[in-house]
Symmetry: C2
Subunit: 339 residues, 2 copies
Amino acid sequence: MKKLMNEPNAVVDEMIEGYAAAYARHVKVLPQNKRAVVCAGGARPGKVGVVIGGGSGHEPAFMGLIGRGFADGAPVGNVFASPPPAPILEVTRAVNGGAGVIYMYGNYAGDCMNFDMAAELAAMEHIRVETVLVTDDVASAPPSQAHRRRGIAGGFLVFKAAGAAAERGYGLEDVVRVARKTNDAIRTMGVALTPCAVPQTGKPSFVLGEDEMEIGLGIHGEPGVERGKLRTADEVADALLERILADMPVESGDRVAVLINGLGSTPQMELFIVYRRVAQRLAELGAHIHRSFVGEYVTSLEMGGCSVSVLKLDDELAELVDDPADTPMYAQHREGKEG
Amino acid sequence: MKKLMNEPNAVVDEMIEGYAAAYARHVKVLPQNKRAVVCAGGARPGKVGVVIGGGSGHEPAFMGLIGRGFADGAPVGNVFASPPPAPILEVTRAVNGGAGVIYMYGNYAGDCMNFDMAAELAAMEHIRVETVLVTDDVASAPPSQAHRRRGIAGGFLVFKAAGAAAERGYGLEDVVRVARKTNDAIRTMGVALTPCAVPQTGKPSFVLGEDEMEIGLGIHGEPGVERGKLRTADEVADALLERILADMPVESGDRVAVLINGLGSTPQMELFIVYRRVAQRLAELGAHIHRSFVGEYVTSLEMGGCSVSVLKLDDELAELVDDPADTPMYAQHREGKEG
């Protein structure tokens, strides 16, 4: 597959260089580690430091979400690979304002190992670190094993809510509580239509027939739960939503946030067509969609397809999801304030 | 090519339905015409109405850019086809706050014909309309015929500057002056790697070999100026920038805005790698990059590739480009204000 790149092994470093140059108002790379990206303003005393991260290839996650009201820093791994402990530790030190640090990332073995090691090293420096794993992918384990599920696009809303809580001045325990509550209340189901290729190999990450799709396929190409003929957008939306609702029922009067996430090459047009059906179905159930997000939030390079996430809101989460944010790749204004 | 859609002929209407449902805080569809999308708050008395538009398939352009500090309304055409006069006229009426209306769109024959007809109809209702065509695509005509050039991604910055001017309360003549000045000071060059397919046919819009790229190919598949083997990202960035600079020299001390626009399926990672090189080259020339935009602004469904735009700024344009904006698909905060 064709890529605009120089050396395949340099893509991540060159991406970070370009990103930091383009958005120097928001972010900086730490001089001691070129894979450690943090907010330009540095740590803020008394504020919980919010660290998100994981492999590259999921842009705008994770470093695109650094800024006021969202994350304070992101260690950056190779494509589809966890960052090692060193950049995680450097980011932790840089965003520690004395109120502790929260790590949030998708539940993958490599990430767990590396972030845990960094947390231990941080503890030796008397930095308190708490971890919340994102486990929103319904397809990746049955309900009885929900804690083993992988983290996919729903992480965006877990980070959003916890980032807003930290911005409001919540203490570490409360930021952790918000992150856990959000993760417990969100479910995601994805569908893949076409593969991506990691730069080093240039080979497609999986093979699907010209008329096929796969439901539940992971953001690194992990096997899904159902392969079959591509159906209409409404049928696909129904299939995704039904699996979500079977796992987490939504009832009349429930308030939800909805996220339709493009995996990389799917036109916005198609994402809005999928959103249309999801919104219709939720309205039929009597649910109220409090806020919607349609676009690319957690991608897989140029993979084709999308995911649907539903987050059940209480008053606290509704406010936190609404709170303003100002990051290079995602910004949201405070309601009613000047534009 | 695979698409998440229902009836191919319904994609535009269903997209608009989904979009308006997802972003009802920002936009509404006029009941009298389902292709007329305007800001939720309606016309603002005394403010110049800003209308942008064109065919679908370029999302987030155009309707994704409706909101404070940007456009007031967008008539929506079929995929890669101009909207007819009716939705243009309805949008014009709806955003007219008594201070006149500016039309801005890319220079394509169909758009010119339909927007001009709508402007004549609006004039009969005593609504003053002025038009500024976007002509930023260096590849589409030689310098001596610059007014015949097509409009591509640079339109985003023309709309941004003029939208900010209207938001500041500039009169119609000044908003038009800003739009013309921005268009005169911006140049864009694109490169395509892979085609898109319009939903009605499902056929690729052009054919390129597995190792080929085409420089200057238009956002509807119009022929480019140079087809050849895919080169490294730095070489591609150099080739695009050299054509821009040959047309509009940038000198030491110049202030510029840079826009790297993804055409649809190109990962953000690659856009930042291209940005990195463009920024290096401009720095070597002694230019100062005042603000950068990297992402998808004017797409061509799932086309692969990107474009580079350079806008030369004076004090006025620098301020207008910096002004806050709040639209569903693009938001920008006021510097120094809370997040």
